[in-house]
Amino acid sequence: MRHIISILVENKPGALSRISGLFSGRGYNIESLSVGVTNDPKVSIMTIVTKGDDKIVEQIIKQLRKLINTLKVRDVTQIEHIEREMFLIKVQALPKYRSDIFNIVNTFRAKVVDLTGESMVIEITGTKDKNQAFIKVLEPYGLIELVRTGSVAIGRGNKATTDFTKQDTKQI
């Protein structure tokens, strides 16, 4: 099962390596990892997408909580949530295909952010599946490069994602 884990972590030196090291050291896998500072400059939020059965994910969460620098850890996949990932895609765009590509871009609600000579850069934000579908359609034109952020996710409703409790999980 794929799980998205949200981690609020103190913005201290080495805090990130403790988290990523925990995954490698204990043989947990990481599908993607993204991190940024929150509104509070002393705190970062990290989103890790991992795969594993329930037992492993339970361990991952407990091990993460055990780290001294982590403030809150939450399996976002257990609550209703919104997940997004951004791709920047550089694709070949010969003049004769440009309008086709623009059409695809519009259909997927993506955005062309740069156009140079025979290529363009497209930005798309969405779930991993949607983005992947977009790539599939673009592939025949010739992909030059793909850069992605990794998933971030946020819970629906009034609470902050990491404030959801076990009870919330059951209700949903």
Binding site: P13, S17, K55, E58, R65, L67, I68
Partner: protein, 565 residues
């Protein structure tokens, strides 16, 4: 008051009531050592930083206080790795201060630079690189707090040379700031009631205790609980000493070389009450065969220990001692009469197993049996000595044949299985308790791994006793080669070894030797006469004696093999 980093370090250690530092100086530590020179702090110079870490570990296990080490940057720091890992695996509170190159040189492959924070990341409870002298006092305070609270463990504090030389105003109101660290000590009342309900309905319950019981000093409560409800107690290897060996409800210890009664009781119990243990593979055997018929409750301060290896029916996160005291608040509202008859019968049955199949060996008049030496040590010290062990057969025989009376009396490397641990740990224990007898029950292979600490021991006139069960083999490995590799003794023969008596004497210690069973007692008695220096006893034992019972790797607890002879 304006102070240097080094002075703040010394002040902080005093504020933490540190009694002794096990430290080894070096280039980047010169400033700190200059400050130590006239500081009123006891400092012990081990002869290798690994020895220093194990001594601090032994000191911490014996006393319950935080062990403190100093090491210089680079090689000094890397020499502490085994000791830190050892402490981490067995939840021993320790703070290890390592020197570091000046901050401006960090990252430039400077002389004796090692990224010790990076290297130790997976083996510490937490670590700090102090980059600003203004943070030093708080960091040290946090380091000690983290090391000794919750599930204890080692903390590394890396001290760059320039930070220790820098000056700042020492504030008097240093506070810790750890928003992400809140160990949970109280058990949840609902879970405690659930636990009591499960026990109420059980006919064959077992209390299963680990090292956590010793750390949280819960022995008395557990004894009381067991006596009130007539429930047998089994310990893990790490829990040895929590309950006296001769307590009528104590069955022994379980696992790979544990006793028949314990391993059988675990297999048959319908309700396992596990307290302060982490279900290590050496203690559970094959997981499918571990307590297959039982509802399992688990009390532990570390949530990540719960349902990690064994799935738990009733988890209780909390301090073992506190939770036991909470249990007594509710205990009288349950119907204990209901199954009392069954419980009494079960207790009797399990203790009977111990009479049928105790730890045993065949005594010999011709050759010293290693078990016999341990039995004699137990007798002569009246079960009151602090026993440290090396790793291998010596360790298992010490655990099997010494009759322990108190918690913190048995000090052994359980999780990491570190050869060379026992002797420096004995030094640490002796420093914690100068008036108690301290014995290292050793193997000839292991003892050589930190033999240099004889120099430390003699320098401080530490009266530790080392009893080498000398089989001229890496005995435990040889035993596996015997049992599972067709007697192919590949590189486990230690026929080339020093004359341990002369070696001891060359350090200024006393060396004694015998190969005769009838002399074992007199050698031990002679050693007891010596009060002011270490004594090394070389017992030439039966070379191919094996440790039994044994559960082969991957087998279940009830698949014990016994001595065929």
């Amino acid at each position: 008051m304006i102070k240097t980093g080094a002075e703040i370090l010394v002040e902080s250690l005093k504020a933490e009531n540190v009694e002794v530092i096990f430290g080894y100086p070096g280039g980047v530590m010169l400033g700190i050592y200059d400050t130590l020179f006239d500081a009123d702090l006891r400092h012990i110079l081990p002869r290798h930083e690994q020895g220093g870490t194990h001594a601090a570990d032994g000191y911490a296990r014996a006393s319950g206080k935080v062990g403190v080490c100093f090491a210089t940057s680079g090689p000094g720091a890397t020499n502490t790795i085994t000791g830190i890992t050892n402490a981490h695996m067995d939840s021993v509170p320790m703070v290890v201060f390592t020197g570091q190159v000046p901050t401006v040189l960090i990252g430039g492959d400077a002389f004796q630079e090692a990224d010790i924070i990076g290297i130790t990341r997976p083996i510490v409870k937490h670590s700090y690189l102090v980059q600003d002298v203004d943070n030093l006092a708080q960091t040290i305070k946090e380091a000690f707090y983290i090391a000794r609270t919750g599930r204890p463990g080692p903390v590394v504090v890396d001290l760059p040379k320039d930070v220790m030389a820098a000056k700042t105003k020492l504030k008097s109101d240093t506070k810790i700031d750890l928003p992400g660290y809140h160990p949970n000590y109280e058990g949840h009342p609902l879970q405690i009631k659930k636990l009591l309900k499960v026990i109420e309905n059980a006919k064959k319950p077992v209390i299963h205790i680990g090292g956590g019981v010793i750390i949280s000093e819960a022995s008395e409560e557990i004894k009381k609980f067991s006596e009130k409800l007539h429930i047998p107690i089994i310990s893990t290897f790490m829990g040895i000493g929590a309950i006296p060996t001769d307590h009528p409800n104590y069955l022994g210890w379980l696992g790979m070389h544990g006793n028949y009664a314990s391993n059988t009781a675990i297999t048959e119990t319908d309700c396992l009450i596990s307290i302060g243990t982490r279900f290590s593979d050496r203690s559970t055997g094959k997981i499918d065969g571990f307590a297959p018929n039982a509802k399992i409750a688990h009390i532990d301060i570390d949530p990540s220990s719960i349902s990690k290896n064994v799935t738990i029916d009733v988890p209780i996160v909390g301090d073992c001692g506190k939770v036991m005291r909470q249990i007594f608040q509710y205990i009288d509202s349950y119907k204990w009469k209901k199954n009392e008859e069954s419980r009494r019968k079960w207790l009797q049955e399990t203790t009977e197993w111990n009479r049928e199949k105790p730890f045993s060996y065949k005594h010999s008049e011709k050759v010293i049996k290693p078990q016999f030496v341990v039995e004699k040590i137990s007798e002569i010290t009246n079960g009151n000595a602090i026993i440290t062990t090396e790793v291998g057969q010596n360790q298992m025989w010490a655990a099997q044949f010494y009759k322990f009376k108190h918690p913190r009396q048995f000090i052994s490397s359980g999780g990491l299985g570190t050869m060379g641990f026992g002797f420096p740990a004995a030094i640490g224990a002796k420093i914690a308790y100068p008036d108690r007898e301290v014995f290292d029950i050793a193997g000839d292979g292991s003892f050589l791994m930190n033999i240099q600490e004889l120099c430390t021991a003699i320098q401080h006139r530490l009266n530790v006793k080392i009893a080498i069960l000398n089989n001229k083999f890496l005995g435990m490995v040889r035993q596996w080669q015997h049992l599972f590799f067709n007697n192919r003794y590949s590189y486990t023969c230690l026929e080339c070894q020093p004359d341990f008596v002369k070696l001891a004497e060359s350090y200024g210690c006393v060396g004694l030797r015998t190969d005769k069973p009838e002399e074992v007692e007199s050698v031990l008695k002679e050693s007891m006469q010596i009060k002011d220096k270490p004594v090394v006893m070389d017992f030439a034992v039966d070379r191919e004696e094996n440790v039994f019972p044994m559960i082969p790797a991957g087998a279940a607890l009830n698949e014990m093999i016994f001595d065929k002879r």
